[in-house]
Amino acid sequence: MNIRFPKSLQILALSLVAIGILALALSGVFTSLSRLVVSPLISIQTWVSQQYRGVENIVSSSQDIQEIRQQNTELEAENARMQAQIVELQQQLVEYKILSALLEFARANPEHKYIGASVIGRDPSPFLHYIIINRGSDDGLKRGMPVVTQNGLAGRVVQVTATGARVSLITDPVTRINVRIEPSRSAAVLTGSITTDITLEQIPQEADVNPGNLILTSGLGGNYPANIIIGQITSVRSLENDLFQSASVQSVTDFDDLNIVLVIINFNPVDISPLLPNADTP
C-alpha cells in the first residue's frame, strides 16, 4: 500500500531534517564522525598534491635551469663588456692626465705653438734613442722642431714623412745642446750617451755648480728655444788640472714612459753650419 504524502508536507519534512542535521553539526555532535571521514580524504589529497607538485617541479625546473643558464651567459658577457670598459676608461684617464698636464705646460709657455703627437714606435736598435710619432709634414712638422713633454725637453724632430716623424731624444749619443745652469747662469753643453746617461760638459772651472741645480736650454746655437727645463744636476766632477768641470744630469722627462708629446711648431732652428770654421777655409 502506497501512502502518498502531499508535496508540501514532503518539503516541510525534508527542511526539518536539514535544519536538524545543521543544528546537530553546529552543536559538534558530527565532529568525531567527520574526522573519521575527512582525515583519510585529506591524506589522499595531500599525497596526490605532492606528487603533482613533484611532477610540476621536474617540468618547470628544466625551464628554470635553461633560463638561469641564459641569464648567466648574459651576465658573463655583460661582465666582460664592463671589464673592457673599465680598462678603456683607465687608459682614457691616464691619457687625460697626460693631456691635461701637457695643456698646463702649453698654458705656462704661451710663447710657443704646439701640436700634440702620440708615440707609435721606437728605433729597432737599442743603441739609438729615437721615437716615432704619428704627425708629419701634413701636420706642419719640419726637421729641427723641438719636442717637449709636460715636464720638459724631450728631443727634436730629425726626419719627417707625410704622416710621421722620427724624434731624436736628448739621451741619444749624438745630442749636443747648449744649456744654462741655474742659479749660477753658467753655460755648458749637454750630451747624451748610448747608455742613456746625460752629462754636462764644458762647465767653466770657476762656475759654482752643485747637485740640485736646474738645467735649462740656453738658446745658443739656434737649435732649441731658450728656457725649456731639461733636468737637475745629480753629481759634479771637478778636477784641478782639468779645463772644465763635468756633471751628471737627471732628466725631468721619463723616456721609458713616453706616450704623448708636444711638438713646438713655431720654432725655426737656425742653421749656423756655414758660419762655423771649415777645414777647407784658408
Binding site: I120, G121, D123, F127, L128, T195
Partner: protein, 163 residues
Amino acid sequence: MSVILSIPILSFITILQSAVVSRLPLNRGTADLMLVVIVAITLQKSVKTNWQWSIVGGLLTDFFSGLPFGLFTGSYLIITGIASLLRERIWRFSFLMQLLVVLSGTIITHGITMLVFILQGGSLQFAAVLQTITLPSIILNFMLSLPVFILIQDIIQQLNPLE
C-alpha cells in the same frame, strides 16, 4: 717559402719590433725580433729562399732605424751565412743551433753598430755597453728564440707537409 710572402710577414715583424718589442727593454737592451725570425727561417732545411728573406728583413729594419742604411742588411746577411753553413753541416739539434746563431748574430750586429759609432767619432765605454745593452739583448733574444723557432717550424711544416 715564397719571397713575395716575406714582404707582408716581415713588414709586420718590423712594426711589431718598433711598436712593442723595442718598448720592452731589459736594462737598456732590447730584443731583435727580426734577427730571431731570420735565423729561425734560415735553419729550416726546406727553405730555399733564406737569403732573400734576410735581405727583405734587413732592408725593412734599415728603413725603420736611424742607423746608417745597410747596417742591418749587412749584419743579417752575415748571420744568414753562418746559419746556412751550420744548416748544411749540422742537421740535428736545430734549436741549439738557433741559440748559437742568435748569440753570434746579436754580437755581430752590436759589434758592427759600435764600429760605426766609433767611425763616426762617437765615444764608447765597452764595459758599460756590454753590461747594459748587449748582455740584456742576448737574454731577450734567447727568450724569444724558443716560441719563434717553434712557430716558424710549424708554419713551414704546414706549408711543406711532404718535407
